[in-house]
């Protein structure tokens, strides 16, 4: 039989050395960056993180274009290994790179490999470190890169985002990526809206479990803070880091005062839910029961239209 690792679908995070992948991975997945790995320079080996991202995807982090000979080796001998069973390819470009030709060359090599080994993979391109570009030039530069990338990527379709870890674009880009990877997301949203209206919640958020990226949300009225999703994600990830120091893991949280009550709880195998009730007279127990019942319903949804690969596995 096939080893379990070979069966798991991958998320490839690739890009030139120094393009910001490790920082990005660390921020999105709340992984502590040990100093040693970076002092060695380029990521020598593939970084597997056994994070259950969107179910059972494994995140693999690759450096491309560090030392040319080194990369040639990997690309020729290990190529099929690397690019098989890929669900998602996320390629990171450093906007400040002086070697645009070389970057595009490596990108194209990756795309060829994807076409051969995982033609159904979704391709995302992140033009990163945009904070180093002057604000009034950012749109222009991103549009140029996007056109180039779209052209180079044919026949594959790539979705491009401009990102920086110092503004909201990183979180939004990854949220969009996650949104596109969830197979039945429209149905999830409809059900979420119904759920929220039934329990009379002010706002209901659905987070991806590992990264606390917002997959879907429903709000019944305008909220003041447009950045609240990222802030909540940051807060919970910090809390998770603190929990992990005690070898504990975060499961649920309830925050309440005289004006509101917020519940964060495990929802389905891939998601967390956050429910905000502005009527504090409704007892917590009632809301928790509602969430528990909804959980069963949403689990069924996920299992029925589950990720394609689990069906493939069964059929093979």
């Amino acid at each position: 039989g096939m080893s379990s690792t070979a069966m798991k679908k991958k998320v490839l995070l690739m890009g030139k050395s120094g393009s910001g992948k490790t920082s990005m991975r660390s921020i999105i997945f709340a992984n502590y960056i040990a100093r040693d790995t970076r002092r060695l320079g380029a990521t020598i080996d593939v970084e597997h993180s056994h994070v259950r991202f969107l179910g059972n995807l494994v995140l693999n982090l690759w450096d491309c274009g560090g030392q040319d000979t080194f990369m040639e080796n990997y690309f020729t001998s290990q190529r099929d290994n690397i690019f098989r069973n890929v669900e998602v390819l996320i390629y990171v470009f450093d906007v400040e790179s002086r070697e645009l030709e070389k970057d595009m060359h490596y990108y194209q090599s990756c795309l060829e490999a994807i076409l051969q080994n995982s033609p159904d993979a979704k391709v995302f391109c992140l033009v990163h470190k945009m904070d180093l570009v002057q604000e009034d030039q950012r749109d222009l530069i991103f549009k140029e890169r996007e056109e180039d990338l779209r052209r180079l990527s044919r026949p594959l379709a790539c979705t491009c985002f401009r990102t920086s870890i110092w503004d909201e674009t990183l979180y939004k880009a990854w949220s969009s990526i996650v949104y596109q990877l969830i197979p039945n997301v429209q149905q999830l949203e409809t059900n979420l809206r119904n759920f929220a209206q039934i329990i009379e919640a002010d706002e209901v958020l659905l987070f991806e479990r590992a990264t606390f990226l917002v997959i879907s949300h429903y709000q019944c009225k305008e909220q003041r803070d447009a950045h609240r999703f990222e802030k909540i994600s940051n807060i919970i990830k910090q809390f998770k880091l603190s929990c992990s120091k005690l070898a504990a893991s975060f499961q649920s949280m309830e925050v309440r005062n005289s004006n509101f009550a917020a519940f964060i709880d495990v929802f389905t195998s891939n998601t967390y839910v956050m429910v905000i009730m502005s009527d504090p007279s409704i007892p917590s127990a009632a809301t928790l029961i509602n969430i528990r019942n909804a959980r069963k319903h949403f689990e069924k949804l996920e299992r029925v239209d589950g990720p394609k690969h689990s069906l493939h596995m069964r059929m093979r």
Partner: protein, 566 residues
């Protein structure tokens, strides 16, 4: 125990904020959160104390700090991401906040420097018109009005100074008066305060053009007469002797107006007086090409329009000391003239005589108009007082500055008026520019004119720069939108000056109209209204205060009305 008494946040040490955004990790005292979000989420306060961007950036910085070792600078915010020092506050969890003083912050001056700076800024060309103003309103009434206007404008200036502090919940430490107007009156307040500020600035620039033409003319005439040994006949009506005082427009009330008080454009003065020199045709030619109103205003364009188009005015700011020297020299000049001419005062209370004017005249609004501009500093007093070391002494220092300014004006005005040789000449002869009462051959006055000419040439581009910066920022958003925008603005300003110098070179009128107009908004109406509104919002508006401030507004309106009707 000492640990318990240590403050929660270490006080900001000046200079400890490094230029690089990421601090040296070993310097633990310098690593501090740049923002602590107010945790009170219960109240629905309408005004956010920090921007949404700052709040979420703070959240990010907190989170990223947990992802690396404390000594690691990988995820430290770079320079361009951190707000500039002016936008950084340090909040104590107990609710107070203070600003990080940037490296090149405002330097603090002792009181005496601040007082001097205010005196220096306020002393403008209006000092030349004070004797005329006193003459227009009568000697006694003039002195009374000068003291009263000084007190009134001082009070309004204090109101302006205190207006940003009474705004709750917002940090107003870098606000100027137009920002306060914008807060209370919206865009209308912002635009109208800009407009009235422009009136005062452009009015000053027009006065400068007229005066520069005047001084250049007289200087040139003096040099020509000296070089060509032309002796001027005494065709100008004036006194005889070495301390000659002339009356350029005898019988027309000194500024070309007849006695009934209706203003008429002043007679075209091309400075022509009969010459009895050797080269009559040459002097005619000289007089034709060197004329105070016909040609010199245009010659000045060649000198000044290029200076106006300089991108930065910092070069001209070095010459502010010339203004002080000029004023001091004027005071010395006035003293010397007074000593030589002696006092000529007669008190006719309500009736005018041949040589004297009544002590109380109906033309007094002209003096109030001149004084409004003479005591005007309301558009920049907040900025000027910011550099005062002991802010608690602001009221005292501003009052002292106003006292000094008032005394200077009083000294010059009273002495010129009192020592004006009245038996041969009428007091009505006092010119809006009192230097015009001295012939161009007077050496002391020649020196004064040359000094003032030089000083004005250096201040004129500074004023133009101020106008440009304020107008361009409001209209186009940047200080220098383009060469042609700036050139157009400069041409408009210069054209205004040239037209006035050509057709209506009466600085007394220009000063009083522009003074009363800009004073209406920035001295009387806006400060009083804002004070009443802030009191009302706090529920502290009592009827005496409301009555007094409404009276101030009425006075401001009456001031403007008086210019047109008197």
């Amino acid at each position: 125990m000492e640990e318990d008494c240590k403050p929660l946040l270490s006080p900001v040490r000046k200079g400890s904020y490094t230029d690089t955004g990421s601090t040296d990790s070993l310097d633990r005292a310098a690593r501090r959160p740049f923002h602590v979000e107010p945790r009170n989420i219960v109240e629905d306060t309408p005004s956010e104390r920090v921007t949404a961007e700052a709040a979420v950036l703070s959240s990010r910085v907190h989170y990223y700090g947990r992802l690396t070792a404390s000594a690691d600078r990988l995820l430290s915010p770079p320079d361009h991401v951190i707000p500039c020092p002016e936008e950084i506050y340090v909040y104590s969890p107990l609710g107070t906040a203070f600003k990080v003083t940037g490296g090149d912050g405002v330097s603090k001056n002792p009181s005496i420097i601040t007082i001097f700076a205010i005196w220096n800024t306020m002393m403008g060309t209006s000092i030349l018109s004070i004797p005329w103003g006193i003459k227009q309103s009568g000697f006694t009434l003039g002195i009374i009005i000068l003291i009263l206007m000084g007190l009134l404008t001082l009070y309004c200036c204090l109101r302006v100074l205190k207006s940003p502090k009474s705004i709750p919940y917002i940090d107003t430490s870098d606000w100027e008066f137009p920002d306060v107007c914008k807060y209370y009156f919206g865009t209308f307040g912002q635009w109208s305060s800009l407009l009235f500020s422009m009136v005062s600035l452009i009015g000053a620039m027009v006065v400068y053009w007229v005066l520069m033409s005047n001084f250049l003319f007289n200087t040139g005439k003096f040099i020509y007469n000296y070089a060509y040994n032309v002796s001027i006949s005494d065709t100008d009506f004036g006194t005889n002797g070495s301390n000659r005082v002339i009356c350029p427009f005898p019988g027309t009330g000194g500024d070309g107006r007849n006695g009934s008080g209706i203003s008429a454009p002043c007679q075209l003065s091309d400075g022509y007086s009969g010459y009895y020199g050797n080269n009559t045709t040459d002097t005619d030619l000289f007089d034709r090409w060197w004329s105070k109103t016909n040609t010199i205003p245009f010659y000045l364009i060649i000198l000044l329009l290029p200076l106006l188009n300089f991108r930065s005015a910092s070069f001209f700011a070095r010459f502010t000391f010339l203004g002080t020297i000029s004023v001091v020299y004027l005071i010395i000049l006035v003293t010397m003239k007074a000593v030589r001419l002696g006092f000529h005062l007669e008190f006719h209370w309500f009736d005018s005589s041949e040589f004297f004017v009544p002590e109380f005249r109906l033309l007094c609004p002209q003096l109030t108009g001149v004084l409004t501009l003479a005591f005007f500093i309301h558009n920049c007093v907040i900025t000027l007082m910011k550099s005062n070391k002991h802010q608690e002494n602001n009221v005292r220092d501003l009052s002292l500055a106003y006292l000094l300014v008032g005394l200077t004006y009083l000294y010059v005005g009273v002495l010129i008026f009192a020592t004006f040789p009245s038996p041969p000449l009428s007091k009505d002869c006092i010119e809006p520019n009192f230097l015009d009462n001295f012939p161009s051959s007077d050496i002391l006055v020649f020196v004064a004119r040359t000094c003032l000419l030089f000083q004005m040439t250096t201040v004129y581009p500074l004023l133009g720069y101020l106008v440009r910066v304020q107008m361009m920022s409001q209209i186009f958003g940047k200080h220098y939108p383009g060469f042609f925008h700036v050139l157009t603005l400069n041409i408009i300003i210069v054209a205004a000056g040239v037209c006035m110098a050509r057709f209506y070179p009466n600085i007394g009128s220009i000063i009083r109209y522009s003074g009363a107009t800009c004073g209406l908004a920035l001295v009387f109406v806006f400060p009083s209204l804002i004070h009443m509104m802030s009191l009302k919002r706090r529920g502290e508006l009592g009827w005496p205060s409301g009555l007094f401030h409404s009276l101030l507004i009425v006075l401001g309106v009456a001031n403007v009305a008086g210019q047109f009707f008197m």
